[in-house]
């Protein structure tokens, strides 16, 4: 599978594909609810209220859920623009969370301006280190990163499981979780009485930087050239495709690790076994829906955050069972991926 990068002059077409895919997903959702015998207007009303219905729902549910999806979606985007698929974001997220939890419980009396960069930096370093293995395997032995990053997810899960019952376990040694982060190591709240934290702005900032780098810098141009066709890029100029891709993948791992660190430092305040409800995989759909453009990923991340928050609303207010909600989410994701990819096909001619 190769993901064609978007061509530069099809911005409005991309917007159309994204909106169409999301809309199609919602239509499928309504159809599914109808067939399953639920009260469709009640359910969709609950979906809307759960995502946007109140200031609380918007800030504390939708935006909080969107934050890790945006960061991980950007991580996937960077690799994909260079032609590499990072399927290991779930693992890099877990490792980033683990490193952040360790750092955040060891910063002592350091003030936030020092402690926070250390916590987030630890998460990024851990994500990049975890990615170094697949990068080496690809450069040295030609092992495709799709397989190696995917398999490392399971190793990461086991590592977290070991950490929370071993070296990182909270002091009383009873619960399978780490100690809580020091107050200084927690991301500040953006609004009082809400769960919205600084992580959202960090995600936005990363998106802006990535957009500029991809579009305006020489490195970004070369990466896109490699993504378009590594052979062509190497033959045509002085681009060292392998090295370029390695750096892109390491940054991708670092961003996924940052996602984990932000979740620990902004939401959970401790490392737990099941910190991620599958962010690393949902984020792939987010990146595809965002057409592998940083700005698009931000929008898609917000839409998915709203969808997940709304799914909670459907359970609460319309008594749609969790299983049905999960089926609906899967249908929406599938619809979006198919629609986004077929849109890409037409945009790029006979691919």
């Amino acid at each position: 599978m190769r993901l064609a990068p978007p061509s530069s002059n099809s911005r409005w077409r991309d917007v159309g594909v994204t909106a169409g895919a999301f809309g199609l997903g919602l239509l499928f959702l309504a159809l599914f609810l109808l067939v399953a015998g639920f009260d469709v207007p009640l359910a969709l009303g609950a979906l809307w209220r759960g995502a946007f219905g109140s200031w609380y729902a918007l800030t504390s549910a939708t935006l909080v859920r969107a934050t890790p999806l945006i960061l991980l979606g950007l991580a996937f985007t960077l690799g994909s623009r260079g032609g590499a698929l990072n399927i290991g974001m779930e693992g890099q997220f877990a490792l980033g969370a683990m490193a952040a939890a360790w750092m955040g419980t060891h910063t002592g009396a350091l003030p936030g301006v020092v402690a926070l960069p250390m916590v987030l930096g630890a998460g990024m370093a851990a994500g990049a280190l975890w990615m170094a293995v697949p990068v080496l395997l690809r450069l040295r032995f030609g092992v495709t990163e799709v397989i190696s990053t995917l398999l490392l997810n399971f190793v990461a899960e086991a590592a977290v499981s070991y950490a929370v019952t071993g070296p990182l376990q909270e002091p009383s040694g009873i619960y399978p979780q780490s100690a809580s982060l020091t107050m200084a190591a927690r991301l500040p709240k953006l609004l009082p009485m809400s769960r919205l934290h600084l992580g959202l702005l960090i995600a936005f900032a990363v998106a802006v930087v990535m957009a500029v780098v991809l579009k305006r810098s020489r490195w970004g141009f070369e990466l896109r050239a490699v993504g378009a066709g590594p052979r062509v890029a190497e033959v045509s100029g002085r681009i060292r495709a392998g090295r370029l891709l390695a750096v892109a993948l390491l940054i991708s791992g670092a961003l996924a690790g940052l996602g984990g660190a932000v979740e620990v430092s902004g939401v959970s305040y401790a490392l737990y076994l099941n910190l991620s409800p599958g962010f690393g995989f949902t984020a792939i759909a987010v990146a595809l829906l965002g057409r592998l453009r940083p700005g698009g990923v931000v929008v898609a991340g917000l839409l998915f955050g709203a969808l997940e928050a709304g799914a909670g609303g459907m359970q609460r207010d319309a008594a749609i069972p969790a299983v049905a909600v999960q089926v609906v989410q899967a249908v929406v994701i599938l619809t979006m991926v198919v629609a986004a990819n077929s849109g890409q096909r037409t945009a790029n001619g006979n691919d």
């Binding site: 969709l44 737990y272 359970q315």
Partner: protein, 324 residues
Amino acid sequence: MRGTLLAIALLFSACGSETSAPPAAFRVALVTPGSIADAAWNAGAYSGLQQVRDSLGATVSHIEARTPADQEEALRSYAAEGYTIVFGHGYEFQQPAERAAAEFPKTIFVITSGQEVVGNVVPLIFRIHEATYLAGMVAGALTKTGKIGFVGGMELPPIVLGYEGWLQGARATRPDIESRVTYLGNFDDAAAGKEAALAMIRLGVDQLHHNADAAAIGLFGAAKEQANVYVYGANADQSALAPGHVVGSAVLELPRALLLIAREVQENRFTPRVESFGLESGVIAFVANPELQNRWPTGLAERVQAARDSIITGTLIVAGTKTP
């Protein structure tokens, strides 16, 4: 394309116009950490919620939330909507509830298997190990191989305590008992539950107990395929899950516990406290499967009954090594 967008726009505008103000009433919510189709821990709480609705006329709502972030969000969302009681179903809700509770002083957060009273966060403690002790006694008496096994979901204190009660009970009837224990790391993976059970059976285990909710369905499946392997249910009477193979169950009558608290709150006589349920309360019990009771050696039923009485009077104390 334009047609699709138009349809979506209509869809949203239709939803937006709907009013969302529910009547101010006695509202009770339940947040479970797993599926309510587990025939055990979560199913019991959900049936409790339905009884709260039917007996007390409460407006009820339920949501499943699996990750720490989702769990805190679920607690807060209900509180923000003005629910009177929010049940967080499991020890893992204690900390998220403590974080949320200060901002929502009008809501009472009841944490099943919780730890302590913190403001408007109150725990319900279930001494399930008193019942698993009795189950263990039966297993120790019935085992032919002298080997018993326990499959836990996660290595959480209430789960570990249940295992320790089971082991102590088995030692009471068979001092040289050999015990195996494994924790799956989740409460959902029925395939892993079956795999763990089969591995134990291969090692000679013939009496199996669990506390793994939906994952334990696999354990019952494994027992059904083997002759002379017996299972002890957890958190509900699970005799029907493997007919002819379930000797008894360590039962947790969650509806009774939930109703008790909800009724007090409704009648305005609730005071925050640690409410602890053991064998004396009737909320915790060991329920034997009458179909298999003919296999019990003579005198066992009397011994189990005597142990139950001693636990209730306090002369026999079932205690874990890792008590929170």
